[in-house]
């Protein structure tokens, strides 16, 4: 078997992953339209990992980590970056091989690289979730997280979902041989208008770094956090039946507010206005929302609950 030609750009790596996982039968979804810290927060992962219904999805998720902002100067750190996320329930017995196939598809041949599964247990205190798995190393670099979900929102996952998360920039920099993320070709370097990652994101990294660290209005953010928390609770407490008598529990709208609260917490954290002791309390508040959303979702059809 001959290896495919190596990819030439960031977007080509994404396209190849999309094609590969579509070929493995995954529904290729689009990014969730809200600010999240990681691909795991997409309801296609968090909520769909709950319940008995089978599920297979793959998607790119723009992710924001305000504290990681470096004004576009650090070669590896960004406050806004992309994750590629694959979630399959129940986890298939050959998931490791499926994953290795995706590495081949983007030009990482395991016969000349050193691919290793190194223990790394995953835990999200804000989502009340944990799982066991590995970080996958390629030649000493972490290229993915591989997790078998055991609990989400405080509920045991039955069946268990297998989750793969690729840090796209880091992976692509390695495949493309880029030393600085901003120098990495975004579209094909031979294109008439060739764009680097920096052409697209250097300025936004600067702007958001400034806003995240110095400008975000903390009073407003604290208020937004409270609002999101209250709205989430209100949605969950609302009657399950609408005015026409239809049973429509609103798990997803409630979960949106939970995502919102989580992201606002991250922003406040970046502004340095949350002390060590308060930190735990805020995480606990977001977790309580996540749990309540999970509880509600489990009563819905998407979770396999009989209508």
């Amino acid at each position: 078997m001959t290896s495919p030609k190596p990819p030439r750009s960031f977007q080509e790596i994404i396209l190849r992953l999309q094609t590969y996982w579509a070929g493995q039968g995954c529904a290729v979804l689009q990014p969730y339209d809200m600010e999240v810290g990681a691909g795991t927060f997409h309801p296609a992962t968090t909520l769909r990992a709950l319940g008995q219904r089978s599920w297979a999805a793959a998607y790119v998720q723009p992710s924001r980590r305000p504290t990681d902002g470096r004004y576009g100067e650090n070669p590896n750190r960004l406050q806004h970056y992309y994750q590629y996320q694959v979630i399959i329930k129940p986890s298939p017995p050959d998931l490791q091989n499926l994953y290795l196939g995706s590495l081949k598809a983007i030009g990482l041949d395991p016969m000349i690289h050193d691919i290793r599964f190194v223990e790394d247990d995953w835990e999200s205190p804000t989502l009340g979730a944990w799982g066991l798995g590995w970080e996958v190393w390629c030649d000493g670099m972490e290229v993915s997280q591989f997790t078998y979900f055991q609990q989400v929102g405080g509920h045991d996952c039955r069946p268990v979902s297998g989750e793969l998360t690729y840090g796209l920039e880091r992976l692509a920099m390695y495949v493309l041989g880029a030393e600085h993320v901003m120098d990495m070709p975004f579209n094909d370097p031979g294109a008439a208008i060739a764009l680097t990652y920096g052409d697209i994101f250097r300025q936004t990294e600067q702007e958001y770094s400034r806003w995240n660290f110095d400008q975000a209005d903390t009073e407003t953010l604290f208020q937004h956090f409270k609002d999101a928390e209250a709205e989430c609770a209100r949605i969950i407490a609302a009657s399950e039946t609408d005015s026409a008598g239809r049973r429509i529990p609103m798990a997803h709208p409630a979960y949106d507010q939970c995502i919102k609260a989580s992201h606002i917490f991250n922003l406040l954290d970046a502004r340095g206005v949350i002390s060590v002791t308060e930190r735990q309390a805020y995480i606990g508040r977001v977790r309580a929302l996540a749990r309540a959303c999970a509880d509600l979702f489990l009563t819905t059809e998407a979770a396999g609950a009989s209508a």
Binding site: P90, F117, E119, G131, L132, D139, Y148, Q150, R158
Partner: protein, 763 residues
């Protein structure tokens, strides 16, 4: 005699769990087999990242037939009794025998059990083992309910003898046993069958899997050393890393890389830690420059390009990591050179423990204590205090934030950069030591002062809030802090009164509680009163100062000085004081001292001194001076190794017992007035003479703290005491003689008491 081979093939098992899993597999399976009546000659367990394997050799082919006889109720016993017996034996009435017994006829059950074939037993034992395997963390996968460390893919289980191999049939949650396995994930992915352990090992090797972790370790060590040798370098030995790396590969291929010049100025500890923690690289040192200049990474695959791609990738990752480290180092150095004020400021908002304040509070306490300890260890008090203030500033540095294990080590570099003298910088590095029982003990005076102050503050802090270790729970490593304190004191011959140091440390920690609110604060204020009334001299002044400051800091309206005067004038009625009440300074400090004594016993026992000898010494005054305690115990231990010493102990005990009985009977204490003129026998006179000579010698030796001399002096009493008891009846009918002899015995008792409490010596 068949051999058993088991392999549990799974997705990657965490390296850190493999050694215990090997032991557990071997123990659980062999114990199970033996319990079921099988015997075996030998067993061995092995692991790779993807498999746990067990070989059991010389297993019995089946368990033996057994025959058990059980005596039941008498034949005329009630029906209920017989029914119960039948149920217990699992038999029916027609299977019982009737036998004659002394008291009549009795039912007997003879239960014969046929032996069972090994394969049946193995299948049961293995299933139980897998289902109950004690992984530290386990998981489910897919739709199944079986738990394993990671998804379990196949079970190989065969019994083999001269006639060939047979698969032991079993099926656990859909995983059926078989006789096949797979090789290396990439190099030899196909399944193959095996016929026994030797065949298994050989075929695995052809399939690029080295089964034995010890062999992989040896291979990695050897090849890494060869690679280093070729460049004239040496590998920095690291057994922990070696065993971890051996647990990450089935087919180890060490590759050597060079660290780029631009990183060679980083401290060697930073290079080593970054490479080890992030990359699991071994460090290679160039003996000519003394620097870490290279690394060895261990790949899990042999490639057509001889690892060139893999090495290049690792090199790139390392460069990125070290760029981060260099960035931290340069920023930290800049802060260090500007005086580290921002770090000191930052520690004010880092909580050490919610009842003990911030790291900055803690540093202030340690600095004050280090200043007090300095004269005892020959350190300059100013320097000791400065060192304590500097020692923990590196906790705020970016480098220690990234690599917490470099705390102290970075502290030394930054203190040097800030222009502090070497004694201060070295104290920053060494003040956490000794950490474990085998860790080196600092010897430089300033380091010793700060290390002692740090540990005493930790101990007194947790004693002050009543968070002591219990049983196996010691979340704040207080036993380790206690042992560290002991080793610092004993190794450096630090003459100190630990009770004073403990009280000083406790006061500082109690005073912190004045910053609390509610009940805690009321308790702390009460304690302040009690301390000032109960203690005198330096401690009372100290307490006044500390509490006054703490209260004024809170803008208290109390006129502290006037209050103190008033309390003193009215004491002791003003404050109801019971120094032995739990929670008081007195009680808490003694409680801490008792804890230190317990740790000292453990420490000395490891050096061959029995606990009863230490108990005998701890009963003496001055037991908070651990140097004195250890010297006394060592001398006493040496004496008790001799025949004179052992016999003397008997003589002293005998004298003590006779005295105690007489004193109880007569209701008086015999302590004075033995007169040689009432001596009747030569042996009695000889004992008087020996005591006249020994007593001053013992007293002088004790005053000089020359314990071996004291032991020699008291050992000289052995022969006269023995001879006295041989010849003289103490409890004579003549009351004058009796009283005189009892008073003579009391001189013996007193001589012994100068040395130790011999009643505590066993045997």
């Amino acid at each position: 005699m068949p051999d058993l081979l088991i392999e549990l093939f799974s997705e990657e098992i965490p390296a850190r769990m493999q050694a215990r899993a090997r032991d557990d597999l071997k123990r659980l399976v062999t114990d199970g087999l033996v319990q079921a009546g099988l015997t075996y000659a030998s067993a061995g367990a092995f692991s790779t990242p993807r498999r746990l394997a067990l070989t059991v050799e010389g297993l019995s082919a089946q368990s033996p037939d057994t025959r058990e006889e059980r005596k039941g109720p008498r034949t005329d016993a009630p029906e209920k009794a017989l029914e119960g017996f039948l149920r217990g034996a699992g038999l029916t009435r027609d299977q019982l025998q009737v036998r004659d017994d002394k008291k009549g006829q009795v039912w007997f059950a003879v239960i014969a059990r046929k032996g069972r074939p090994a394969s049946e037993i193995v299948a049961e034992v293995l299933e139980t083992t897998i289902r109950d395997f004690p992984w530290p963390k386990s998981m489910r996968w897919g739709t199944g309910s079986l738990r394993w460390v990671r998804p379990l893919h196949s079970i190989l289980c065969i019994l083999s003898d001269e006639s060939g191999a047979t698969t032991v049939p079993l099926n656990i949650d859909g995983i059926a046993s078989g006789n096949s396995t797979r090789g290396h994930r990439f190099l030899s992915p196909d399944a193959f069958t095996v016929t026994g352990f030797d065949d298994y090992v050989a075929r695995l090797r052809r399939a690029h899997v080295m089964l034995d972790p010890a062999e992989r370790e040896a291979e990695i060590r050897q090849q890494a050393e060869n690679l280093a040798f070729a460049r004239g370098w040496q590998i920095v030995p690291d057994d922990t890393l070696l065993s971890e790396v051996a647990g990450l590969v089935e087919w180890p291929v060490p590759l050597m890389g060079v660290i780029e010049d631009r990183f060679l100025d980083l401290p060697p500890e930073v290079l080593q830690t970054s490479m080890k923690e992030h990359q699991k690289f071994f460090s290679a040192r160039n003996p000519k420059t003394g620097r870490i200049e290279g690394f060895v990474t261990v790949a899990n695959i042999a490639t057509p390009d001889d690892g060139e791609t893999i090495l290049a990738g690792n090199q790139r990752v390392l460069a990125a990591r070290l760029s981060d480290a260099a960035f931290f180092w340069e920023n930290d150095l800049r802060e260090a050179k500007s005086g580290m004020n921002a770090w000191a400021e930052g520690l004010k908002s880092v909580t050490f423990h919610n009842k003990m304040g911030s790291q900055a509070d803690r540093i202030a306490r340690v600095a004050a204590l280090a200043r007090e300890i300095a004269p005892m260890v020959g350190a300059d008090p100013d320097q000791a205090e400065t060192a304590a203030r500097v020692a923990k500033l590196d906790l705020q540095s970016a480098m220690v934030g990234e690599f917490p294990e470099l705390q102290g080590i970075m502290g030394r570099y930054y203190a040097q950069a800030a222009g502090y003298p070497d004694a201060v910088a070295d104290a920053a590095r060494d003040h956490y030591s000794p950490l474990g029982p085998s860790d080196a003990v600092p010897t430089a005076p300033v380091s010793v002062a700060v290390a002692l102050a740090d540990k005493i503050d930790t101990l007194t802090g947790f004693w002050a809030i009543d968070e002591k270790p219990t049983g196996s729970k010691d979340p704040f490593a207080l036993r380790r802090a206690a042992l560290g304190t002991i080793r610092l004191i004993v190794n450096n011959v630090v003459r100190s009164h630990l009770l004073d140091a403990a009280k000083t440390g406790l006061l500082a920690n109690f005073s912190h509680q004045l910053n609390t609110i509610g009940e805690e604060r009321t308790k702390a204020v009460d304690l302040a009163w009690e301390t000032i009334v109960a203690e005198d001299g330096r401690l009372a002044k100290h307490a006044q100062k500390i509490f006054a400051k703490a209260l004024n800091d809170r803008n208290s309206k109390i006129d502290w000085n006037a209050a103190v005067e008033k309390a003193k004038a009215q004491s002791p009625d003003r404050v109801k004081l019971d120094p032995d009440r739990p929670g008081t300074l007195n009680h808490t400090s003694h409680n801490l001292l008792a804890f230190l004594h317990d740790r000292l016993k453990v420490h000395l026992r490891d050096q061959g001194i029995r606990h009863d000898i230490i108990d005998a010494v701890l009963a003496q005054p001055g037991n908070d001076d651990l140097v004195l305690v250890v010297n006394r115990a060592t001398a006493l231990n040496a004496m008790l190794q001799t025949e004179d010493g052992r016999n003397l102990t008997q003589g002293l005990k005998r004298a003590g017992n006779i005295l105690a009985q007489a004193e109880e009977k007569d209701g008086v204490e015999y302590s004075f007035g033995a007169d040689a003129k009432f001596a009747e026998t030569d042996q009695e006179r000889a004992l008087f003479a020996a005591l006249d000579k020994a007593e001053p010698a013992i007293r002088r030796a004790i005053a000089d703290e020359d314990f071996p001399a004291a032991m020699t002096a008291i050992a000289a009493l052995r022969a006269p005491i023995d001879a006295f008891f041989e010849a003289v009846q103490v409890n004579s009918d003549n009351q004058i003689l009796r009283r005189n002899r009892l008073n003579l015995l009391s001189r013996i008792r007193n001589a012994g008491r100068e040395i130790a409490d011999f009643t505590k010596i066993e045997g």
